[in-house]
Amino acid sequence: MKEVLFMTVAVVGVGYTDFRSTTPDVSFKEQMFEAAAKAYQDAGVHPRKDIGSFITGAEDYWEGYSIFDEFVPDQLGATLRPVCTISGDGLQALLTGAMQVKTGLMDVVAVESHSAASDLLSFHGIVSHGLDPVYNRNMNVNPFFVAGLEMRKYLSETKASREQCARVVTKNKLNAMDNPLAAYPAVMSIEEVMKSEMVSNPLTRRDISPLADGAIVMVLASEKKAKELSENPIWLKGMSWISETPWLESRDWSDATYARLSSEKAFKMADITNPQKQLDLVEVDDWFSYKELQHLEAIGVCEKGQAGKLLEQGQFDRDGDTPVNVSGGRLGAGNLLEASSLQSVLECVIQLRGHAGKRQIKGAHTAAAQSWRGVPTATGSMLVLSNEK
């Protein structure tokens, strides 16, 4: 176990499209090509000779293609090369890429994830398809009831308020104002969030992140290669991913256990003993407003029941002690389905390089990206990154 604790893989290139509510003008392949070309340029590599393996994080049902791996090589420069799809989110794909580098079989690995959400006419139908077919699907309820159940339990146990959840939405949309990639920046009032239509009480429409399209590609490299290629490699310091039981009938509805366990493991690898002090910024999954608060408590940025209060005090604002979702998160940058977790990693990389412009967190050198795969899952990952090896 000891040798695994020492990570020597770095992000040496990032490429991305901007994120948009709809992209009728380009196909998902054309978006992937744009992101890949930029990432390879950023890393100073050519995919036809320098990259050993290509991985996408994608789910066939989001895409509408079976065996989706077959549709990705061309636009990544990956034909006649090792290619695979991780049926998971972009962060899980990235962790797989890091492990491939660690095997020593490849020095450089490309990781891709994208969202073509606007191609999907039956988003709720696909989410429902993730429910147990015998016990849950035939109840004929919109699948966001799962979030309603969880939000109710979380608010009841922590005494967090509806208003504090609404503040997550306004904060993230405001953060997105300074992220040129973001699809849904807005200056929105707490009242507007609170007064939006009820979806599954207590969850309202504005508590739910709006879908967006976009593609992100990252280039990973071994220590030796990273030092050759990059003046500012961003090192992967700790990583973990966890799945809980799928049973809606017997899961822990109040705590995000997957987030707690995956962060404990990743923080141990990264030598993070006090996340609140040691992390300069945190990107956590905010598919629904309350999830940001729940995740912050689960990963130990604060005690259970404290996230709402600390949010109100401004601790998670861009100029607070622990800036949270400076990118805008899913609520502000847009819900990129499996690619949102790579969007979180992207923000960390840009910040740790010092390239975040107006939204730059001064002196940032350690950051964390936490992911969740959305309802009805209880699966999530954690990645700690640093600009110091």
Binding site: D25, F28, H46, Y61, D74, L121, H124, G125, S128, R137
Partner: protein
């Protein structure tokens, strides 16, 4: 099968028994609907088919002409450079004769499908299409010359099936 499985009581259900009212079954029809963005390459290709023409994209680096068109070259990993019309005639690269339809029903008149390397595109690049159903499957062969039979202009909708099928090219 393990010894234990042999002791499982009951019988395997037949189709009729599964459909009987006293059998406990669950039905689920996935609601999976998509409307893929055409993007640049698909959109132009389909628009040109509606015009009765086949268009590809050329990559200056490797010199290949890609049909259907792609905005990037998979071999060189670079953006392709220009639109190029290719001919609606070509040569059978490979073919098959299917005696099942898409739902696996056995059909009397077989469906003839072929990959046709198009004249003007690069070697080994072309179109997947039907061959005229009037052709005797025995007469099909690799290397056979074919020509597109287009649907009347009014019936074209911007689809690969705007070409009805490919028929043998008459000599001379």
């Amino acid at each position: 099968m393990s010894e234990k499985m042999k002791e499982v009581p009951g019988i395997y259900l037949r189709d009729a028994e599964l459909k009987a009212e006293d059998a406990i079954t669950f039905k689920w029809r996935p609601n999976a609907k998509y409307a893929w963005s055409g993007g640049i390459a698909y959109s132009r290709y389909l628009a040109e088919l509606k015009n009765g023409r086949i268009i590809g994209r050329a990559c200056r680096e490797c010199g290949r002409i890609l049909v259907p068109p792609r905005m990037f070259c998979d071999t060189c990993f670079r953006a392709t450079d220009e639109w190029v019309y290719v001919k609606d005639t070509g040569t059978i690269n490979t073919y098959s004769v299917s005696y099942l339809d898409a739902d696996a029903n056995r059909i009397k008149e077989p469906i003839l499908v072929a990959v046709i390397d198009l004249d003007g595109a690069s070697e080994g690049i072309g179109i997947l299409h039907y061959v005229d159903p009037k052709v005797d499957p025995k007469d099909l062969h690799i290397g056979m010359k074919l020509k597109a039979v287009w649907k009347p202009e009014k019936e074209r909708i911007g689809s690969v099936t705007d070409i009805a099928y490919f028929e043998p090219l008459k000599e001379g």
